[in-house]
């Protein structure tokens, strides 16, 4: 019989797996550092006040202006409109799938929803530009060829599967006992769904919303193709806007010489974007923890 000593092979496996986990942390740190260094260089030449409070963004023109607010407004406008589409439809789909749908319907509908998630974003972008915008114009909506509305609508559609999937998982995880108890007390299905299940699953639902919002904020291709390339400080979705991500993509693809202030705008805007999504994630973790219900 073998002596039960320390099994070093187990330690090796543990070490390797821990290494894999650390890689993701290390990558995040590396990204922050890669953004931070040129951004610091940028802010040594452009004041934080000018960057965050002035409203004209024209870093490649002379005289160069560095007010990032038009880009931030563009990002927020598109994110808000996209969420106005994605959240009702996503949550509604999730409630239907979790509470109302028969198993067979669920088997068909859930994969269909996943297909939406699998469509490449560049395809979504061209869909917005070549189908949604002309349709909007045909309906009489006064939009030009580049507009925030088409991009935001399509982005909302893209995010629906994210929200639906995660919310549905959260709702399915609610113990049947809670529902049965409510039925026993005389509730109908709608009351059970909205008053019992959704509040019980609210932690997961909020997490899905935040994930959806993060995707909207960080999405590049759809806005690059369909929302426009002109920074515009507005909250009117019928106008064209340029988001932070679209700006980074446009300047990155062009050829501003390395090391110049114009080039470093990429990193300054990138850092701003990173901080925004990071803050959102922190808020989300807080909320999720606060509302989490642990069953059994």
């Amino acid at each position: 019989m073998r002596a039960t000593g320390r099994r070093w092979s187990e330690d090796v496996v543990k070490g390797v797996l821990a290494l894999f986990a650390l890689v993701s942390v290390a990558t995040t740190v590396a990204i922050v550092v890669a953004l931070l260094l040129p951004a610091v260089d940028f802010f040594s030449q452009v004041s934080l006040r000018e960057f965050f409070t002035t409203t004209d963004w024209a870093p490649l023109f002379s005289p160069a202006r560095f007010g990032v607010l038009p880009l931030v407004a563009g990002t927020l406008l598109i994110t808000v409109v996209a969420c106005l589409v994605a959240i009702p439809f996503g949550l509604g789909a999730a409630i239907y799938l979790s509470e109302y749908a028969r198993p067979r319907t669920r088997r068909i509908l859930k994969p269909a929803l996943e297909v939406l998630a699998g469509i490449p974003t560049v395809v979504y972008g061209y869909f917005a530009l070549t189908f949604v915008t002309p349709q909007l114009q045909a309906l009489g909506v006064p939009v030009g060829i580049f507009n925030a509305l088409a991009a935001a609508l399509v982005m909302g559609i893209m995010i629906i599967p994210t929200i639906a999937s995660l919310s549905e998982d959260a709702m399915t995880a609610v113990p049947q006992a809670l529902r049965d108890g409510a039925y026993g007390l005389g509730s109908n299905k709608l009351q059970v769904s909205l008053r019992i299940v959704v509040p019980a699953a609210v932690s997961g639902i909020i997490a899905s919303f935040v994930l959806g919002i993060s995707r909207a904020v960080g999405e590049t291709m759809i806005v690059l193709l369909a929302a426009g390339g002109m920074p515009n400080l507005t909250f009117n979705p019928l106008e064209q806007v340029q988001t932070m991500t679209a700006f980074i993509a446009a300047v990155g693809a062009g050829d501003a010489p390395h090391g110049t202030v114009a080039y470093n705008t990429i990193f300054a805007v990138g850092l701003t974007l990173f901080v925004m999504t990071f803050a959102m994630n922190l808020v989300s973790i807080r909320l999720v923890r606060k509302y989490r219900e642990i069953y059994e």
């Binding site: 490649l60 023109f61 002379s62 915008t133 580049f146 390339g229 002109m230 693809a253 050829d255």
Partner: protein
């Protein structure tokens, strides 16, 4: 029997690989040479060149170089030619760092760029390779702006311009919002237009859709009734039907942008030469020499096919002489 799925998968994989191997083939291999057999023609001496040529720069000149590459690859299919369109400025950045063999430019090289090339030891020769007209374009539904004066264009495009509506451009123009599109600041077309129209290179208002990708400009102008943009004549001719070119009046009357008016100089001030800058170090490779010779000798054909304005005989002779002199220096 238990290996059925595995066998099937293996067969499928083999089939796919075979198909990939048999398909494809050489880009630009002519299918039209009346069944003359598989072997491509080669050049006059029957020699088949191979190698790689890298070009980058102006998006206005890019399509011409690409068309020249296609022409060249009919005789020398083993030569890979890649043409980037980072913009004239971007192209020079790469060129002066030695990253490219040829730099396409829609304006002459600037002093700072010459200095950078010198610093990095990149010697070059400037060749006027084809002519172009910078055309001002409007939406098809725009029936009021048939001709614009250079003064009106200046007032629209100068820095700080407040003109946001066609009615502000000229009395009698309708109340339609002006939607502007044009090349980005890295573009030679941008430099040239601002120099000629606004009076100072690089001076322009900033609230327009700026893109190095001329197709974005086409989209912006053709998709908005009040659209106004500018780019090279070749893009106007290519997109005939999607948008309309505007005649420009520089004080001598309205002149339409066409090949003829550009060549005879009447389309001013927006008729302009386009350039290719070639790295002398690249002349050690035969294929580079031959490619540029093709661009000059077959200039008329290539230009007409690609919708550019060919060089005049004088200009072609000069380009030919400049090229041969530069090659002579390197000692082919």
């Amino acid at each position: 029997m238990t290996h059925r799925p595995l066998t099937f998968a293996a067969l499928l994989l083999a089939l796919v690989l075979a198909a990939a191997g048999c398909g494809g083939g050489r880009e630009g291999a002519p299918a039209r040479d009346g069944g003359a057999g598989e072997a491509p023609a080669g050049d006059a001496s029957g020699e088949q060149l191979s190698g790689r040529i890298v070009a980058d720069g102006s998006s206005t000149v890019g399509p011409f170089t690409t068309a020249a590459a296609e022409q060249f690859q009919r005789r020398h299919s083993g030569v890979q030619i890649t043409v980037g369109v980072s913009g004239t400025g971007g192209g020079f950045s790469r060129f002066c760092r030695g990253e490219t063999d040829l730099s396409n430019a829609s304006r002459p090289i600037k002093d700072e760029e010459t200095a950078e090339c010198e610093e990095n030891g990149v010697e070059y020769v400037e060749l006027q390779i084809v002519n172009d007209g910078l055309s001002v374009v409007v939406n098809n539904e725009n029936d009021w702006a048939q001709c614009l004066t250079t003064d009106e264009l200046r007032r629209i495009w100068e820095p700080g311009s407040e003109i946001g509506n066609w009615s502000q451009v000229r009395d009698g123009f309708p109340d339609v919002p002006l939607v502007l599109a044009g090349p980005g600041t890295d573009s030679g077309t941008f430099d040239y237009f601002t120099e000629e129209i606004v009076g100072e290179g690089g001076a322009s208002r900033s609230d327009f859709t700026a893109s190095e990708n001329d197709n974005v400009i086409v989209q912006a102008v053709s998709g908005n009734r009040g659209g106004l943009g500018y780019f090279g004549l070749s893009y106007l001719e290519e997109n005939e039907g999607r948008l309309r070119g505007v005649a420009v009046d520089a004080g001598e009357g309205c002149v339409e942008p066409t090949s003829e008016t550009v060549q005879d100089g009447s389309y001013t001030p927006l008729g302009r030469p386009l350039f290719v800058y070639a790295k002398k170090g690249a002349f050690e490779r035969r294929e580079v020499q031959e490619f540029i010779r093709t661009m000059i000798d077959d200039n008329e054909t290539i230009a007409r096919n690609a919708l550019y304005v060919p060089l005049t005989d004088e200009q072609r002779t000069k380009a030919h002489d400049d090229l041969e002199a530069a090659i002579g220096e390197v000692g082919s």
